[in-house]
Symmetry: C2
Subunit: 325 residues, 2 copies
Amino acid sequence: MTHATARPVYFDCDTGIDDSLALAYLLSSPEIALVGVGTVSGNTSSAQAAVNTLGLLAVAGRTEVPVAVGAHDFLTHPYDGGAPHVHGDNGIGEVVLPPAARTPEDEDAARMLIRLSHEHAGDLEVIAVGPLTNLATALALDPTLPSRVAGVTVMGGAALVPGNITPVAEANIGNDPEAASATLSAGWPVTLVPLDVTMENVFDEDDRAALLTSDVPLARTVGEMLDFYFDFYVETYGERSSALHDPLAAAIAVGGIAAIVAPAVSVVVDTTAGPARGQTICDLRGQRRGSVDQPGATVRVVLGTDAPLAPHLIARMTGAGILVG
Amino acid sequence: MTHATARPVYFDCDTGIDDSLALAYLLSSPEIALVGVGTVSGNTSSAQAAVNTLGLLAVAGRTEVPVAVGAHDFLTHPYDGGAPHVHGDNGIGEVVLPPAARTPEDEDAARMLIRLSHEHAGDLEVIAVGPLTNLATALALDPTLPSRVAGVTVMGGAALVPGNITPVAEANIGNDPEAASATLSAGWPVTLVPLDVTMENVFDEDDRAALLTSDVPLARTVGEMLDFYFDFYVETYGERSSALHDPLAAAIAVGGIAAIVAPAVSVVVDTTAGPARGQTICDLRGQRRGSVDQPGATVRVVLGTDAPLAPHLIARMTGAGILVG
């Protein structure tokens, strides 16, 4: 399934319809090996996200991938029930998955991340597409964690576009600003994939049909989920379609999509109680004449990519990378 | 000079090189009558701004326009010395104006604004291109002020582009966030002209040459000031040129330039001590499918204009609207 040289990836998610797209993308990407999945509350609870993830892995026939439940509550405040209007009551658009035989690991997600960072020291890559509570918890448990991680790709934030839960805050960051602040300031190399690019990558009914008519069971299952997600985005885009938040972060992390405008700049998360709480304040002054890295900055902010994600995503999800049922 | 039907305008400024461009534009616009100018600290001190304004009015032969000195300090903190690296030590690029015979009024700027709002009740228009300290002070002195003002046009803020004094704060708003918050929430109709559009309107050496070779003394004087301003903007634009912040607000207020994308939306000024202090948080969610006004919103945020300002500005400044010396 994965190449002998596949890069080890820990995936942290709040599964979630677009998380499911990202998971399906990762499972069909030979460049990487999914060595563990941790769940966090966000789109749905961390417990439900684990149920969803295990179900999706079973549909894909990839039951070797361990899943650890992560934080239920955020660092400074309780989980608030997620986004059932976006992702459905069960997080995956009310699609009912066959029961999975495998159950979550005994360890929690933060400890799984730390363990994997030792097992794959220097090589482990982290892809986080939910609130950053597990990553911040792992950093608090083991401040040496960044030294063993090759890189972190985060779907989150909004640099020069509006937020999606407040005028300036995106949901993953806005749900747990303190965790985001800790994660983005930990010194490890972070690639931030914000709404600036994820909102520009859209999946439409033709794309969904390509999944629904696929021979690949997981592609069909995710295609079914998108029915619910498309309803939510009608108001945004004017037609049944959706943004591709989490799978874009996955594709950039894997290398299937290249970030061609991604300056490394100071990024500060607003953790005040004020109106900008949860904003990713990216210092993009001085970028008018071209992408300029700021000395010492450890966070790259993706503002432009080399190709639309949808065709690439469909090709992978419907291709030979997933077991055919 | 002005038409009998010219609309009465109170101009609040921190003169300043681009303030000088705005003043010259207003003096050459027959649609409006400049019934008073108030000064505020920002680019330079309010006292120096008054000296500069009186000098410019003298050069223009428009000594009938009264000038009132306004606030030296901001609402919650002292004036910090301005921006001599942008506007020069005297605020006008070290250009030395002939001494003006007229002196500032005895009243301060806030009281002048209140007085003018009675004299032109219902008709007075306010154009503010500096920190909003005087406007906030007037609102505090007389909360009925908005009922007598037809509209307020403010150069300030940054909606979907970086700030210019912090990653998210523009100088006029960031210098006195509390004053900006009071002004933008007062219920009067505000047109906010942010960096989103002012940075896209550029004046270059050819434009400057058109001023320097003009028969109009004020045009030549302002053209001389721009020499200093252009030096500052080389790093931003890659060549000697400048943004047209204040004159764009003036031109939009007068009607010489039309704001063709300007949704009325919730605008909140961040007055915390956090990293977003001074940001104009404009709720631009839901604008993807076209400009949509939010019910009850009293602040229009200008995001697009109908024509480049520079040619229009030059035509007015070098035309028949100013006394020829």
